[in-house]
Symmetry: C2
Subunit: 585 residues, 2 copies
Amino acid sequence: MPESSGTPSTPDSGPPFAPLREPFLQSRKIYVTGSKADLRVALREVRQHPTVDAKGTVLAENPPVLVYDTSGPYTDPEVEVCLDRGLPALRAPWIERRGDVTPVRVPRVAGSAAFPAARTVLRCRSGRHLTQLYYARQGIITEEMEYVSIRERACAESVLEGSRRPGAPEPLFRETITPEMVRREITEGRAIIPANINHPEAEPMIIGRNFAVKINANIGNSALRGSIAEEVEKMVWAVRWGADTVMDLSTGVDIHDTREWIIRNSPVPIGSVPLYQALEKAGGNAVDLTWDLVRDTLIEQAEQGVDYFTLHAAALKDHFSLLTPRLTGIVSRGGAIMAAWCTAHRKENFLYTHWDDICEILAAYDVGVSIGDGLRPGCVHDANDAAQFAELKTQGELTRRAWDHFVQVMNEGPGHVPLDLIRENMDKQADWCCDAPFYTLGPLPTDIAAGYDHITSALGAALIGWNGAAMLCYVTPKEHLGLPDKEDVRTGVVAHKLAAHAADLAKGLPGARIRDDALSKARYEFRWSDQIALSLDPDKALRLRNEAVPGVAQAPEGFCSMCGPNFCSMRLYQTLCTVHGQRDS
Amino acid sequence: MPESSGTPSTPDSGPPFAPLREPFLQSRKIYVTGSKADLRVALREVRQHPTVDAKGTVLAENPPVLVYDTSGPYTDPEVEVCLDRGLPALRAPWIERRGDVTPVRVPRVAGSAAFPAARTVLRCRSGRHLTQLYYARQGIITEEMEYVSIRERACAESVLEGSRRPGAPEPLFRETITPEMVRREITEGRAIIPANINHPEAEPMIIGRNFAVKINANIGNSALRGSIAEEVEKMVWAVRWGADTVMDLSTGVDIHDTREWIIRNSPVPIGSVPLYQALEKAGGNAVDLTWDLVRDTLIEQAEQGVDYFTLHAAALKDHFSLLTPRLTGIVSRGGAIMAAWCTAHRKENFLYTHWDDICEILAAYDVGVSIGDGLRPGCVHDANDAAQFAELKTQGELTRRAWDHFVQVMNEGPGHVPLDLIRENMDKQADWCCDAPFYTLGPLPTDIAAGYDHITSALGAALIGWNGAAMLCYVTPKEHLGLPDKEDVRTGVVAHKLAAHAADLAKGLPGARIRDDALSKARYEFRWSDQIALSLDPDKALRLRNEAVPGVAQAPEGFCSMCGPNFCSMRLYQTLCTVHGQRDS
């Protein structure tokens, strides 16, 4: 790792990577093999203890619980991970078998910060297409589609029949997740699998309203802070806690090399905002940006393996005059950059005018596009205003044009929106953007909680996820105050994982409640260790439990730590059931 | 303070109370005087810096922002606070003027842990009534009603006309908060002012759907943990961060004395669950509870000044058989205690059969009742089931019967409920309980986030607050794992304050957005110190800011810490506006 030591260091060789490789409590990595031997879907299996009576006699076994797992090979002790070589190229044989790629070149490795391992850059063969959207439309079920169908479905397989109560709202889910269903969702643009052919290390993952709600974690250094080693560590840390994608928003030095280290070692799709690097190339002055600079940057990053680009192509010249009534103008970096360029040149946003050129580049590598919300509101005062919705309509137009190029699309959504105006955002996006996945920042339903904005964001995120948003961009406690450190990343990820799960439960995702039910049963039976192991962040749950009642986290003691033995409701009730036989077990 | 030192110690004399008395950044306590000289309503005024241009020239002054303030005299340096004497008895002259009370006795002060200052216990004079509900029905506007109307309204006075956009949902608020409107809301049972005549130290506060959403913080030691000094400190800490009421849920030793110290020093209403103390008196065995023990405990606590009691009177004998399909049975302590008693004796819940006796006691002191939800679901599996709703219906019956005794009532609501089932809870409670205020624990929309359940709870709380819940019971990060420490209390309070505010914005509470708008304007103008001062937890915001960019929190630097100067969207946009004149200021 550059900047952490002079010689190549592996994650096994010591801090800070060793703790990142520890499997979770009572957990092991398992693999479900698909229709081909090299299609092995990684999941986490959480073992449980048996249910016992007061004398310790086993009354019943509790089956292991399968959990959706974003942590990649890092939590599998069987896999040797070496950051200097990168992760195994899981998807390489699939991409090769399809025969639609051609090598471009082996990139030059130079500079002390450069990633040391050589690698062949691929692009689409002339006259061919290779995006997941293209394959889906041809009726082809790719390995990626099969992978995600197994991944999404495995955790739901043991779903109990009739677990939804009568009268509950109609679930969004009307059918089982199968490879064919995945293919159809992609064909119709309702879901995407961001999967650049130059990022074969990533485990396929699907984003769409009819699948589990996903979350994204932003990392990246700035001119003010951050080193490459720190950013790679944050990425591994983020996927450990559940980030489904990671966006590298670096704007500082070593922007290319930072991204290369991150991509080579990332088991999840990586997103970026290419405009940031283009701006660095333009000497930091938005007015000096050119289409050529941006085009070259798109190709550079597509060749590196970025899985999706955020492009602020829908913030148009005519929209800027709609900003006048706002309290906080433009709060998106990309939006502000394009506004500065358009205004100085008195020309239309060149990302908009070059949209077809852009889509051709994206299609050659299967880079997805996340059409940015450069004019998103930065405070509740500005929510759902004319500027925001004018841009959203344009996002819809660009969505349809990108689909014509077989480019996979999602749309970025609002920043600050009060709870009562969130639904309108979701409905308009679904309508105007033809059900393309909605990827939302928050929304944040109040402005007054600096230092707690991971919570503010989780409130809005849960609501919009329930309403149909497909991916939630995390916000950390440092939002509005500074760049997140490692602990902020963890807190932000878990808060949004929680929001995504609450949304999954509310929208009736099959099997989503299995983990809740298992954990609650463990809680009721005082299986403390199982309760902790099934929690979103077992390490923190264990630490808090040990703080509260030192040393007893592993031992069932028959009452809960809050109340003491005489005041434990669950103990009282269970005694009651045992004595009076009101309830089995 | 007992257990902290042998001699009486005042909060001024050193830790841990000195930091609790520090006024907030840029803030001072102000008082708005009502129609009588002794009716002085406390608020917090947050000063702001002027808006300046790049050269530091003042462009505009920014008016101070008034903030609803629960911290009591602790944050007023002008008030001498001595924990051994208790807070000034703000309401004593009002209660005396009304002439409806009679002294009972001066309680004996004994034991090393006893509160040292003598005080006369009051109760209702024979043949009179003195609850706020009684006065309201007589057409009397009490000082308490006037106080809360000023308190609720002051922060909204500068509300901008037309700040709600056309097409937004109809706000719940159709009229200005006046003393007469407060009286009418109380008359109709839609709001309560918990105000025991024996807790004259409390600043009046109103709970009802047509006012700001309130939050409660639970404190209290258990057989396992906690000292009196710790609990008093937690109470002061909780009100500092915004708790509108505090419930003392102590179950351990010194239960009477702990409560006395807390009440005498609390500027907010105090709630309790008298059953816990009665159970201690019964030797810890629920089966040995008797009505006499409970009656004596109700009187004991009413004489101390508890402002509202949670009573699990609606969990009936017939309901318990409905629990069979549940995963986690009974998770309410009070519910489990009553279930154990009913089942052992094969008799109806004696809190239910003695309801009229109970109401007579409550009415004699104006103790409010919070009808407990002893059968609330303890996991999402059990949400909205037959047992829960059977109890809720009984809560409605008891509500109407309590109103006949002029007792002020609220209803407690569900624990674990997925997002899609929350609305049904609110609607059924409003319907069956005739719009009595709904006081909710969470709800928690997932079970799998141990260690983060303050966030889980905030998600559900914001949603149900928006839908009409009047008060939110906080949950801390230690929920399900152990008892909260001081830092957990702070985190839990701020998380729920945030949820309550998000609900206020969503339901269109007049003036709720003033603080958001002021903060966002400060953010946009890089007035960092103002942004921090206007945040819910200025101390934490300042700390995080200093971590991110050491030393610059007080100095505007013209760009935000996340992006560096070239990537600051707000700076870019402002430059643009200055150069191209797209926007004033």
